[in-house]
């Protein structure tokens, strides 16, 4: 098998899986649909490994292959091929995407087995993975945009998967529209590039960029900023992030998929993929880095006060992606993609563990109601701990090494990048606090009634009726909308990890990776797997690849360890030893708390700046303009002219439409016949 063939097969597996599940539909038993879906992705992972092996067999200065099947369009000097671009970066991405997705599929097969839309669910899930792989493997900007939009559509379908919930369909359309705005940014950026360069393939873009544009030329900066809009929308960066927390409406494994393996990492990949362009437009790259830094701080601060378990993790994703966007924009490629990898492992794991708890809670997601699950669910607890240590960058866990590599690379650039470096470490403290707040509140303390049920009966808590946690009061199910039982989580039986082998076997490998994956890229050049592997992709970088400054590196590691340990102790103090202290802090700083709880008012800002004016324009057009100008002046005027001009026609048309039209036909036929006879 050649390199190209194996890459095509990576793409083909989820597509075939999706089609076969969708076409067989209800004929498939749920179990079979889950099996097909999971196997399709597992097979894709296998082909991704083959791709990796084939790629590594090439000499390191020639690890790039392009391949194409047919032309989507090829006229007017625009050539759009259905082609792939296989290099270390895209191979790195397909390995993570397929690997983590396989485990998420396996987890889903257990978690969703009582859901009535099980078959549809797996068709969507496979489509999602296909879209992400297309995005990652695409060989030109247009095919990238296609994958980009497919990911958006797939996320829409999965976010509003429980479509009887209006909160879910609203969240779905929000995600979709914000993603479309991102797509538009990408397309516009592409148009700017194409107008000057006339090419769309990566290879030609990269090799010609220095000739086509001057460094930091305004037009290039404009193009790259527009492309950044695309990256921000997909990766939930400020101000395009508001869809991400709402996307928690989807089933928990979907959150896991969106946050870990697919979707939100797309922006990071895009910046890495187009790094020759961004490095040639340093202004745009700087904007990317600064937005990433702002996002990581803002999202971290919101994560501190959210009470919905899944939303805390969602804001944590936004914050961690902020690190990656900041990193790759600041040319910290190794750290950026290393962190992308370790984040994929521990974030997928955290969502899976959260899903297990939510199941045990009977669908309730509020941290205010969770308590003392430590003994009730030891396996879930252990996994959550592994993910939590990795997320909070505790020394020696994977997140510790990846975040440190990233910040070290950023800091090593000196100059104003120091500000980003500092922001990264401030954000690290936030991370520790929100992570451990979550863990301490859900697992420590006197067990809540649901935890007691789990301990006593060995089964999940079943509420009398299922309610939508996103309506009414978050903590009080009796105020919430009752679910439509036909399509609504969580079915009548809940699955949690201790009792469901698929969930357990999906979580174990991720827990191991979350703990140990850091060993492949250790500081001081002890291991260099990622930096060596990705080097061919970034060999053309004008910024020093993996700086050598062991003083800075050591400083970062020590600082990071101190932050992690001190903050962890502080968090323990606040949420376990002195349970009232967090309320006391809130009372002391009410306005900050209000700002955080209201998510820095971004939803309100969007509403005031975009949605409200649009709605007003729409109302004006419909109620006023259309009635007065179009119907009144235009139609009335035209009608009036005709009426005034011809009293004969007027008498003919008032109520005798048919006769009137018949006259026209007869007249026309008569004229035609006359001339036909004439010409014969």
């Amino acid at each position: 098998m050649t390199l190209a063939t194996s890459a095509w097969l990576v793409l083909a597996c989820p597509l075939v899986g999706m089609l076969s599940i969708a076409l067989l539909g209800k004929k498939l038993s749920p179990r079979l649909a889950g099996t097909i879906g999971t196997l399709a992705i597992a097979l894709a992972f296998a082909f991704a490994v083959v791709t990796l092996i084939k790629l590594q067999q090439l000499p390191s200065n020639a690890r790039l292959e392009t391949t194409s099947l047919w032309d989507l369009a090829n006229v007017g000097g625009v050539k759009i091929e259905v082609g792939l671009y296989i290099d270390p970066l895209s191979t790195f991405m397909i390995l993570i995407v397929t690997g983590v997705s396989t485990l998420i599929h396996l987890y889903s097969a257990g978690y969703m087995q009582t859901d009535k839309g099980y078959v549809r669910y797996f068709a969507y899930l496979n489509f999602f993975v296909f879209s992400m792989l297309l995005l990652v493997l695409a060989g030109n900007l247009i095919l990238l945009i296609v994958g980009w939009a497919f990911v958006g559509a797939a996320s829409y379908m999965l976010v509003s998967y429980w479509y009887r919930r209006e909160t879910a369909t609203a969240a779905g359309i929000k995600a979709f529209v914000i993603n479309v705005i991102g797509d538009i940014g990408l397309v516009l950026g592409t148009l700017f590039l194409f107008r000057t360069m006339g090419v769309l393939d990566y290879g030609q873009l990269f090799s010609n960029i220095h000739v086509a544009f001057d460094k930091d030329a305004p037009e290039l900066v404009a193009a790259m900023l527009l492309i950044l809009v695309g990256a921000f929308a997909k990766s939930a960066q400020i101000p395009f992030h508001t869809w991400l927390p709402d996307a928690m409406e989807g089933p928990t494994p979907v959150s896991s998929l969106i946050h870990a393996a697919t979707m939100v990492t797309a922006g990071v990949y895009l910046i890495g993929r187009l790094h020759p362009l961004f490095e040639w437009a340093p202004t745009a790259a700087a904007v990317g880095a600064i937005i990433g830094a702002i996002t990581l701080l803002v999202a971290g601060s919101i994560g501190l006060v959210m009470t919905d378990l899944k939303r805390v993790i969602a804001y944590s994703t936004m914050s961690q992606i902020g690190y990656m966007i900041m990193g790759v924009s600041a040319a910290a490629y190794v750290g950026g993609f290393f962190h992308l990898m370790s984040h994929a492992f521990f974030k997928a794991l955290l969502f899976m563990a959260a899903g297990s708890i939510i199941s045990a809670m009977g669908g309730n997601q509020s941290l205010n109601n969770m308590k003392g699950f430590r003994k009730a669910m030891p396996f879930t607890f252990a996994c959550f701990l592994a993910g939590g240590f990795a997320l909070s960058a505790f020394p020696l866990f994977s997140g510790f090494f990846s975040k440190d590599t990233l910040l070290y690379e950023v800091g090593a650039r000196g100059g104003w990048y120091w500000a980003l470096y500092v922001a990264g470490y401030v954000g690290a403290a936030f991370t520790v606090f929100y992570t451990w707040r979550m863990i301490f509140r859900a697992f420590w303390g006197q067990p809540c009634k649901e935890a007691v049920v789990v301990m006593e009966t060995g089964d999940a808590y079943h509420p009398a009726q299922h309610t939508n946690p996103h309506t009414g009061n978050e903590d009080d199910p009796s105020t919430q909308e009752v679910e439509d039982p036909e399509v609504g989580f969580p079915g009548h039986e809940h699955r949690y990890a201790e009792k469901t082998w698929q969930m357990r076997y999906a979580m174990i490998p991720l827990a191991i990776l979350a703990v140990f994956a850091g060993v492949i890229q250790l500081p001081f050049g002890i291991t260099n797997v990622i930096s060596d592997f990705l080097h061919p992709t970034f060999a053309d970088s004008t910024v020093a690849y993996m700086p050598e400054d062991s003083g800075l590196e050591a400083f970062g590691l020590i600082l990071s360890s101190v932050i992690a340990i001190v903050s962890l102790i502080a968090a323990y103090w606040i949420w376990v030893r002195r349970p009232g202290s967090s309320a006391a802090i809130q009372a002391r700083l009410p306005w900050i708390h209000k700002l955080f709880v209201n998510k820095w008012y971004f939803d309100e800002l969007n509403h005031a700046v975009i949605i409200a004016p649009m709605a007003a324009v729409g109302r004006f057009a419909k109620n006023t303009f259309e009635r007065i100008v179009i119907d009144g002046a235009m139609v009335g005027g035209a009608t009036g002219i005709v009426r005034a001009g011809s009293s004969v026609v007027r008498s003919g048309q008032s109520g005798y439409m048919r006769a009137y039209a018949s006259l026209i036909v007869l007249g026309l036929i008569g004229v035609a016949l006359y001339f036909l006879i004439e010409s014969a």
Partner: protein, 505 residues
């Protein structure tokens, strides 16, 4: 193969169904449309993309005293539109034949005559013949709306007749004037489009004649602000007829720009380029805004059509080969999605006790997964999601505009964002959320699936290979706008601005 056979076959079948017993009237029309489709596909397969000029030409003297010919022919501009028309009329007639109609003989007669007229308008290569077919295609729809329409049909028909007749009259005057003025230098009177291209009318003449044609075409599409007749007509027209009316007849007008107006009156087109671009832009924005405020499904997609035709006109009046190619592709795309949209609306209404208001629908997807899937694919294509052929069409259009009128292209993108809102809103409020007040969910029937599934497969096939219609459009589209482009910018500097063409071999 003679184009006359393809053109007149539906009308002959329609005439037969006029005489046939009620029960078989629909079937006869279906057979006629099917035979036409088969012939059209054979024509498409046999079409030679590389040959310049017209193919399958029929040219006979019709009214020799006035130099009017019965001249038909196909080239890259119309061959795909012709086949698309035959396919979509077949689908709509088949769909209609599954339903009960009062006076079915007459209904299917009008339907079939409409198909003949549209095919004729696409094939006509004589100015007067085009005008005749153009007017002929409207007449059956006056009758269909007036006789089979819903509430308020008389007012709707009146508005439609007045609007379109004013447009048609202006066009007729403009067409006659073209021939007469072109013959002033002592040449024999001719209305053949190919002959008139060499006429070389003065710039002033071109400008007013241009306006005459433009008025007729813009009313027909319709574009803002000439769409006043559209809401009423759309609200009342029977849905199978509305499907082809909205999907195909609007394309005849857009096609008329590329076939007649721009090649014959290049100076006029160049002179009014910015006016037309602004009208197109206004249509995109106004149509989109209106589409997301409407609650009647027909009007949501009616105004969506206004916006989509805005894109098509934008591409045409970019007066660049890429814009015209994109516009031609988009004409095919928009026709292919609009027909299923309106047929699906008929199915949705049947599941909502006749209501077409999205506030009374909802929650159908659970019992009707296939219908939901079809509607989702069509909706995503409507909003030109990347991966659909509509995206490629819009990309070419915006590329064409972007090269010279960057600001207009950037503003036009707001239409893309709004399309996402109104298309998904229509989908969600019918298929998702709680079961609506009037909704009675059930799956699409076998017969209707037989119509809609193949149409959706065509949408998917176009998405995978939009190059097929693009390739046919390539040469003729570029030739169509070549003169106007030259009139616009004699030096044609844009070709040399791409640095890369000097860089890469």
């Amino acid at each position: 193969m003679s184009l006359s056979i393809i053109i007149w076959l539906p009308a002959v079948a329609g005439a037969l169904s006029l005489l046939a017993p009620r029960a078989v009237a629909g079937r006869l029309a279906v057979v006629g449309a099917l035979a036409t489709l088969v012939l059209a596909v054979i024509l498409l397969v046999g079409f030679d993309n590389s040959a310049p000029g017209l193919q399958n030409v029929t040219d006979q003297n019709w009214i020799s005293a006035l130099g009017i010919h019965y001249k038909l022919g196909i080239d890259g501009l119309n061959v795909w539109l012709l086949t698309t028309t035959a396919m979509l009329f077949f689908a709509a007639i088949l769909f209609a034949s599954f339903r009960e109609w009062e006076r079915p003989n007459l209904f299917f007669f009008f339907f079939a005559v409409a198909e003949s007229a549209v095919l004729g308008a696409f094939c006509a290569q004589d100015l007067i013949l085009f005008v005749v077919f153009f007017d002929l295609m409207l007449i059956p729809f006056y009758f269909i709306t007036g006789m089979w329409g819903g509430e308020g049909r008389v007012q709707a028909t009146t508005k439609m007749v007045i609007y379109t007749l004013i447009g048609s009259l202006l066009m007729l005057v403009a067409a006659v004037a073209t021939g007469v003025i072109a013959a002033e230098g002592g040449q024999p009177l001719t209305f053949a489009i190919s002959g008139l291209q060499q006429a070389g009318l003065s710039t002033g003449t071109q400008e007013w004649i241009f306006l005459g044609f433009a008025a007729a075409f813009l009313v027909k599409m319709p574009l803002f602000p000439l769409h006043g007749w559209m809401p009423d007509a759309y609200r009342t027209m029977p849905l199978p007829a509305l499907a082809v009316f909205s999907g195909i007849l609007s394309k005849v007008a857009a096609y008329g720009f590329l076939r007649i107006v721009i090649p014959l009156f290049p100076d006029g087109a160049a002179h009014f380029q910015e006016l037309l671009l602004l009208i197109a832009l206004a249509s995109i924005i106004y149509g989109s805004v209106m589409a997301f405020t409407q609650t009647n499904l027909r009007l949501i997609f009616g105004f969506s059509s206004v916006a989509q035709l805005g894109f098509i006109v934008l591409g045409i009046f970019a007066l660049s080969p890429r814009g015209a190619e994109g516009a031609l592709l988009q004409m095919v795309n928009h026709a292919v999605i609009t027909v299923p949209v309106f047929l699906i609306i008929a199915l949705l209404a049947a599941r909502s006790r006749g209501s077409e208001d999205i506030r009374e629908m909802g929650g159908l997807a659970f019992r009707a997964p296939l219908l939901a899937a079809l509607f989702l694919i069509v909706s995503l294509a409507t909003l030109a999601m990347p991966g659909s052929s509509n995206f490629i069409g819009e990309f070419y259009i915006l590329l064409g505009v972007f090269e010279s009128k960057t600001v207009i292209a950037i503003i036009a993108f707001s239409g893309v964002a709004m399309a996402a809102v109104y298309a998904l809103r229509a989908y969600i409020s019918t298929m998702h959320n709680r079961v609506g007040a009037q909704a009675t969910p059930r799956e699409i029937g076998l017969q209707d699936a037989l119509v809609l599934v193949p149409l959706v497969l065509v949408i998917l096939a176009l998405a995978i290979y939009p190059q097929a219609p693009l390739k046919a459009a390539q040469g003729p589209a570029a030739r169509s706008v070549a003169k106007a482009r030259l009139a616009l910018d004699p030096l044609d500097q844009r070709a040399s601005t791409q640095k890369i063409s000097q860089v890469t071999p």
